[in-house]
C-alpha cells in the first residue's frame, strides 16, 4: 500500500516561561513530542490514541504545519512539507476544537473565503460547495451567522470549511469531543464516507470505541513517545480489547 504521510523522528520542544516552569519542576523546556515516527497509508484512517498531554495535538499541529517541529521530518508523498509549505497546506485539511469559525459570518461566506484563500477558482468552489453542503444538509442554514447555529450545525459548518479546498489528507483532532450522540454519529459516518472516497485521515482521540469503529491502524502515544503501533486487528485480540492493551501499556510505561 502506498505511504501517503511519513513522520520521521519528530520532536517538539517548547521553551517554558517562568509560570509554566513551576508546573514542570523548574525545567526550562517541555518535550511534548519525542522522536516520534509513524506512517499513514493512502486511503486509511490512522488513529493516534493517548491520554491528555501525551502529545497527540502537538503532533497533529506539526503535521498541519501550524507549528514547526524542533527536529525531524514530515514527508507528504515523499516531499518534506516544510520545503514546499504552501503546496502541502493545500493538500491538508485540519479540524480541531481550538480553531473556530467567526460567529459574525455565515457558513456560505466563510466557505467561499477559505476556499479562496486556498487558491480555488470560483467554479471549483461552487462545485465543491454543492457536494459538501448536500452531504451535510447545510443549505437550510448556509445564510445564518455561525453564532446563531446549534452545536451540531457548527460542527457541520466546521467540517465543511475544513473540506472546502478538497484536501487529500484530513486531520481531525478529537473529532467527536463535546458533541451529542446524534452529531457524533453523523461525524463518524462522515469520516467513513470520506474513507470510502479514498481520502487519507488521521484522528487523535482518547475514546477507545471511536478508534475501534473507525481506524485501520492505531498508534498509542504516551509522554510524546509512540509506544505501540499497528493494524487494529493485530493489536487487539479475543482476550484483550483496545482498552486493556492501552492500560497494560500505560501501567508498564516506566518499567
Amino acid at each position: 500500500m502506498k505511504i501517503r504521510l511519513e513522520v520521521k523522528n519528530l520532536t517538539k520542544r517548547f521553551k517554558l516561561n517562568s509560570k509554566t516552569r513551576k508546573v514542570h519542576n523548574g525545567e526550562p523546556y517541555l518535550i511534548a513530542v519525542n522522536d516520534l515516527s509513524f506512517n499513514v497509508n493512502d486511503g486509511e484512517i490512522y488513529g493516534l490514541l493517548g491520554p491528555n498531554g501525551a502529545g497527540k495535538t502537538t503532533t497533529l499541529r506539526m503535521i498541519s504545519t501550524m507549528i514547526k517541529p524542533t527536529s525531524g521530518e514530515i514527508l507528504f508523498d515523499g516531499d518534506d512539507i516544510y520545503k514546499n509549505l504552501y503546496n502541502a497546506r493545500k493538500k491538508i485539511g485540519f479540524l480541531t476544537s481550538e480553531l473556530k469559525l467567526d460567529d459574525f459570518f455565515t457558513t456560505d461566506y466563510i466557505f467561499n473565503y477559505f476556499a479562496s484563500l486556498y487558491g480555488m477558482k470560483p467554479k471549483e468552489i461552487e462545485e465543491n460547495k454543492k457536494m459538501i453542503f448536500d452531504k451535510f444538509d447545510i443549505w437550510n442554514f448556509k445564510d445564518q451567522k455561525i453564532g446563531n447555529l446549534s452545536t451540531g450545525q457548527k460542527q457541520k459548518a466546521s467540517l465543511a470549511i475544513t473540506l472546502a479546498h478538497n484536501p487529500d489528507i484530513i486531520i481531525f483532532d478529537e473529532p467527536t469531543n463535546g458533541l451529542d450522540v446524534i452529531t457524533a454519529k453523523e461525524v463518524e459516518d462522515f469520516l467513513l464516507s470520506l474513507k470510502a472516497e479514498g481520502k487519507t485521515i488521521i484522528i487523535s482521540t482518547h475514546i477507545f470505541s471511536l478508534v475501534e469503529k473507525l481506524c485501520d491502524r492505531v498508534g498509542i502515544i504516551f509522554d510524546g513517545k509512540l509506544v505501540k503501533e499497528g493494524y487494529l486487528k493485530d493489536i487487539v485480540s479475543k482476550d484483550k480489547n483496545l482498552e486493556t492493551v492501552f492500560f497494560d501499556l500505560y501501567n508498564n510505561r516506566d518499567k
Partner: protein, 396 residues
C-alpha cells in the same frame, strides 16, 4: 496580493456591517462636532455675555481729541459701524473734565460706556504714534459689558493694535484688548489636541484588539494561519483594513472638526475664524499619519496579547498618556524641531499650532514623516509576531 485582498475584504465586511462597529467608527466625528459646537457656544456666552440686542445703550464720548474734522470722521465711523444697533445706541459728547461725573452715572447704569480719547488721538494714530483710549464700563452690567466688547473691537479694527486702558467702575486696569483672540486661540489649541487625540485613539484602541487579539482569543485566527498564505500577507491585510477603517473614522472626526471649529470661533462673536487650504491639508495629513501610527502600534500590541482583555490592559496606559500629551502639546514651542520626532507629542503639538496659527511647515512635514516611519517599524514588529508560533498559538 490576491490573499491580501481576500482577507482585506473580509475584514471590511466585518467592520462595516456590524452595527456596534459602525457606531464606534462614526461616533467620534459626531461627538467632535457636537462637543466643539457646544464648547463654542459656552465660551461665546461667557465672553460676550447674554444676548442683549433689545437694550438701549448710551455712550458718552470725549470730544477733545484734537482736530475737529478728524473728530467728525471718527464719529461718523462709530455711528456707521454701530448701525446694527442704531435703534438702541445713543452717543453723547462730553469734555474730558466731565468724565469723573459721568463715571457715577455709569455705575448707576444711566450710561453704558465712556470712551475717553487721548489728546490728539487721531493725529497721533495718523503719524504712527501709539495713543490711548480709556474705556470705562460697568462690569456688573451685561449691557455695559456687551457694548464695550462691540465698540472696542470696532475701534480696534479701524485703528489696529493700540494701547487701551479699561476701567471697570473706575478702577484702573490695563489689559490689551488685542490679546483677546490670542487668549481664545490658546484655550482652543489647548483643548483641541487632547479631545481629538482621545477620540481618534479610542477608535484605534478598540478596533485593533477586537480584530487581532479577539480573533486569537476566539480561535478564529488559527484557521487562517494554516491556510497556504504568508503570515506577512495576513498581517498586512489586517493593518490595511484597520487603517482604512480608522481612516474613515478619522475622516468623520476631521469633518466634524472642520465643520465645528468655525462654528466654535464664530460663536464668540467678534472673532472671525476660518481655515485656509494649507491648514486643512496640514490637519488632514497630521490626522491620517497619526491614525496609521496608532493603528500599527495597537495592532502590534494586540498581536502579542492573548485576549482582548489583555490587549486592552496593555493599551490602557496609552489612553492616559494621550491626555497628558494633549495637555503638554499646548506648551510646546514648535520652533524646536526636536519635538517633531517624538511620537504623539509631535502630532498633538502640530494640531495645537495649526489651530493657534503658529504652525511651522518644517515641523508638520517632519511630524508626518516620523509618524509614517514609526508606523512602518510597528508593522514590521507585528509581522514578526504573526510569524512567532509561541505568540500566535500561546503554546506554552
Amino acid at each position: 496580493m490576491k490573499n491580501i485582498i481576500t482577507i482585506f475584504k473580509k475584514e471590511m465586511k466585518r467592520f462595516f456591517t456590524d452595527r456596534r462597529m459602525l457606531a464606534a467608527l462614526f461616533l467620534p466625528g459626531i461627538l467632535i462636532y457636537v462637543l466643539y459646537s457646544v464648547i463654542g457656544n459656552v465660551i461665546g456666552n461667557t465672553v460676550n455675555g447674554s444676548t442683549v440686542s433689545n437694550y438701549n445703550y448710551s455712550i458718552v464720548e470725549t470730544n477733545n481729541y484734537g482736530d475737529s474734522s478728524k473728530q467728525s470722521k471718527l464719529d461718523m465711523y462709530l455711528k456707521a459701524a454701530l448701525q446694527t444697533y442704531e435703534d438702541t445706541v445713543e452717543i453723547k459728547y462730553i469734555n474730558k473734565s466731565e468724565v469723573d461725573a459721568y463715571k457715577v452715572d455709569l455705575k448707576a447704569d444711566k450710561y453704558q460706556l465712556i470712551i475717553d480719547f487721548d489728546d490728539s488721538f487721531e493725529l497721533n494714530v495718523t503719524s504712527g504714534i501709539k495713543s490711548n483710549i480709556n474705556f470705562y464700563y460697568n462690569g456688573a452690567s451685561n449691557e455695559s459689558s456687551f457694548i464695550y466688547e462691540a465698540t472696542s473691537s470696532l475701534i480696534e479694527s479701524a485703528y489696529g493694535v493700540y494701547s487701551v486702558n479699561i476701567s471697570k467702575d473706575g478702577t484702573a486696569i490695563n489689559p490689551n484688548v488685542s490679546d483677546k483672540n490670542v487668549t481664545f486661540l490658546k484655550i482652543i489649541s489647548f483643548i483641541l489636541p487632547m479631545v481629538l487625540l482621545s477620540l481618534l485613539s479610542s477608535t484605534c484602541l478598540s478596533l485593533a484588539p477586537e480584530s487581532i487579539a479577539g480573533e486569537k482569543e476566539r480561535g478564529t485566527l488559527g484557521l487562517v494561519l494554516i491556510a497556504p498564505i504568508k503570515r506577512s500577507e495576513l498581517a498586512v491585510a489586517k493593518v490595511l483594513a484597520l487603517t482604512v477603517t480608522c481612516l474613515v473614522s478619522g475622516l468623520t472626526s476631521f469633518l466634524g472638526l472642520v465643520f465645528s471649529l468655525p462654528k466654535m470661533f464664530n460663536g464668540i462673536g467678534n472673532i472671525n475664524f476660518s481655515f485656509g487650504p494649507l491648514e486643512i491639508v496640514g490637519l488632514l495629513f497630521i490626522i491620517l499619519s497619526l491614525l496609521i501610527l496608532l493603528i500599527t502600534f495597537a495592532s502590534f500590541v494586540s498581536s502579542f496579547a492573548k485576549s482582548i482583555k489583555e490587549a486592552s490592559g496593555f493599551l490602557g496606559p496609552l489612553t492616559g498618556l494621550i491626555v497628558v500629551v494633549g495637555i503638554l502639546s499646548a506648551f510646546l514651542n514648535t520652533t524646536n524641531i526636536g519635538y517633531a520626532f517624538v511620537p504623539l507629542l509631535n502630532s498633538a503639538a502640530c494640531l495645537s499650532s495649526v489651530v493657534s496659527g503658529t504652525t511651522s511647515l518644517a515641523f508638520v512635514i517632519i511630524t508626518i514623516v516620523s509618524n509614517l516611519f514609526y508606523s512602518a517599524v510597528f508593522a514590521y514588529l507585528m509581522i514578526r509576531m504573526f510569524n512567532d508560533e509561541n505568540v500566535m498559538f500561546n503554546v506554552h
